[in-house]
């Protein structure tokens, strides 16, 4: 192990709160008051304030949701976009633990953490959006709507959240110093990963299958019997891209939390993952074209919805697919990282299209956007980022814990 790792390890061992211990309160507060934190704090406060309004005056007071367009940004972004991007944990787990590609291991803990937080916050978004959030456990415990795809999603998200938590706890136990518990949970890794693949395959595709029920409401360019396959496919791309992009961010902003092994591995991992995503995106593009041909909807391309559809599949699927291939071939890490961001945006655009813009497209008047709703979404995502940063700054996510440095898993 490098000298660098040891230094970090020694500095952190057993004293996770060293910042507060060494500084006096005013000093600590001053250290906290970075421009980033101040802006984040304001966004979070505004969001929380509006959430209070939502819980006291009803969903209608803070959203543009209407009788005809019942699902808004909370679900479009929090659930339909958040869940595919959080496929990071399951995809990287499969690559490393099942396929045995060990050189991706340095980023696995980070991918699992991102996945876990993504699901946790998807549930938080659900709690904001459900009319009666305190009944969240009803599909699990009180009444079973077995004909409902949403019933399946509810079960799977609940099970998978627990699964991801168990995958994440070894890092937590390392931080807390609970060695026995850690050893037990590490033993579960393979089982959890396979369980995670099962659950993820099903609920990622189920999110697409939700819309199969509304053939007359979803625009024919987006409605296809392949929706489940497409959703699963783009979730794999989204999860991989989130890992690529967040890995870039950690190297830029959280470098001091990482060990040399992690930092040194980033370039190679980025290029490798980029190559993988390129294949996934090209496949996705092909299925999209098959769906288009199969429905024989070519003539619809020459309409406003058609142009928007083309922007989506050319600009955010085909283009990144090509850029990934070019980037990984010419070993251009920066290009791959940029393309990952492009793909993440593409996944979000696709989910917003399917669950908002192309849905109910025949209604004469629709309202998509409410500033208050948007501010809540931004506020909650900011909380997620802060929680992520806190965990990465305290727990051994981007580094090995010194006690287990020489362990081979």
């Amino acid at each position: 192990m490098s000298e660098y790792t040891k230094q970090i390890g020694a500095a952190r061992k057993g004293v996770p709160e060293e910042a507060t211990q060494e500084l006096t309160m005013p000093q600590y507060l001053k250290k906290l008051a970075t421009p980033f934190n101040i802006v984040a704090g304001i966004i979070v406060l505004v969001g929380l304030g509006l959430i209070v309004v939502r819980y006291t005056m009803g969903l209608g007071a803070v959203t543009s949701a209407s009788q005809d367009q019942p699902w808004g940004l909370f679900l479009n972004i929090g659930l339909f976009s958040g869940v595919p991007l959080s496929a990071s944990g399951f995809v990287l787990g499969t690559v490393v633990f099942i396929f045995g590609l060990k050189h991706y291991e340095p980023v696995v803990k980070n991918a699992v953490l991102l996945g876990f937080l993504g699901y946790l916050f998807a549930v938080i978004f659900l709690l904001i959006d459900l009319g009666r959030p305190w009944r969240l456990p009803y599909p699990m415990a009180v009444s079973f709507g077995t004909t409902s795809v949403l019933f399946l999603v509810a079960w799977h998200v609940a099970l998978y959240l627990s699964c991801q938590f168990l995958e994440f706890v070894p890092s937590l136990f390392e931080w807390a110093g609970w060695k026995v518990l850690r050893r037990w949970t590490i033993k579960l890794t393979i089982g959890l990963t396979i369980f995670g693949i099962m659950l993820s395959t099903l609920h990622q595709s189920a999110l697409g299958a939700l819309f199969l029920l509304a053939p007359g409401k979803l625009h024919p360019l987006w409605y296809t019997p392949y929706l489940p396959v497409l959703f699963l496919n783009s979730a794999i791309a989204g999860g991989l891209c989130l890992v690529i992009f967040v890995t870039y961010l950690t190297r830029r902003f959280l470098k001091e939390q990482a060990d040399a092994e992690y930092l040194a591995s980033i370039d190679k991992i980025t290029l490798g993952l980029g190559k993988g995503v390129s294949l996934v995106l090209i496949t996705y593009f092909a299925v999209k074209i098959i769906a288009l041909a199969h429905g024989n909807h070519w003539s619809l391309l020459n309409t406003t919805y058609g142009y928007w559809y083309l922007v989506e599949i050319l600009g955010f699927v085909l283009l990144p697919g090509i850029l990934f291939a070019l980037g990984s071939r010419s070993k251009n890490v920066g290009l791959v990282q940029f393309t990952a961001l492009l793909t993440i945006i593409g996944v979000v655009i696709n989910r917003i299209n399917v669950s908002l813009i192309a849905l109910n497209w025949q209604l004469p008047e629709r309202e998509f956007f409410d500033l208050r709703e948007f501010l809540i979404v931004i506020g909650v995502i900011t909380i997620e980022v802060l929680v992520y940063r806190w965990i990465v700054s305290h727990m051994p996510i981007l580094r090995r814990h010194p006690d287990y440095e020489n362990e081979h898993e």
Binding site: Q67, D129, R132, F144, S148, A214, G216
Partner: protein, 338 residues
Amino acid sequence: MEKKLDVKTTNKCKPRSILSPDLSTVKISRRGFLKGNAALAGALLLWDALGEPAKGLAREINGWPDRYGMLTDLTRCFGCRICEKACNKANDLEPPATPFEDKSVFEEKRRVNAHTNETYTVVNRYADPKTGEPVYRKVQCNHCAEPACASACPVSALKKSPDGPVLYNENLCIGCRYCMTACPFYVPAFEYFDAGSPAIRKCSMCYTRRISKGEVPACASECPVEAITFGKRSELIKLAREKIVRNPDKYIDHIYGENEFGGTDWLYISGIAFEEMDFPSDTGTTPLPEFTREFLSAVPLVLVMWPALFGGVYLFSKNRSRTAEAGTENTKKEGNQS
């Protein structure tokens, strides 16, 4: 014109593409892939314990020939809104913002709105495209034979009763609003401005308040011109057909709801094309729950096969890396010896 064309295309292609997807064009064919492994299906007790989702509701529904329905004769309706008033009274709803006698509401196309919560039915005005005369459409839940809303509900708060009406149980509803996304007629309404106990609002055909007491639903009983008839659905279809046959000049030859989306228990006959009154026209005759059934029936197979598949890959790759490691160690030793 262009828009309509689009709609037609979808209409034709969708049911076909769902029921017999051209699997030869796709690599990943769920069905073929899964069928080949039908032997594994025996192990599906896990899902069966929860109730089998793939069971065809259609067969059950056809087994309820005595279920009730309603028939609205749109040629008779003259927009008096007495049905709205009767609905309000029968269901103890909120007093209306504009009185039920006020005809100015026809300037807009209205829908059942849970925010004001005045009625579970509204009447809208359209113009006969030929004569320009006003025609009226009464809107409420159509009590589908195989309701998309009920199949969508994750907690079975919405249920089709064997008597016909699609009923809502507020005590189970979690407020996810998937029923609203699913309903092809934009019927269920949600109380967006209630933070404490927001509920879905929709017509129940007066099932608990009247039918179960042997009374006719309020709108049908109050309508002054008998535009709404309550009865056994099978009888209503006969009645509708008779009316059409007897007055071919008055009615178009179409009973809306007989086959739309696999059939609805609320039926309509009209003098002008139903599209002219915003009835969904791209309906097909496949009940909407069919469109998710195939997906749900693939679920147990994934649950059974994935562990075997990925467990196998794991063992394989582990084995391979062991052999590789052993190989490198051997070479090292050899190197040391020499």
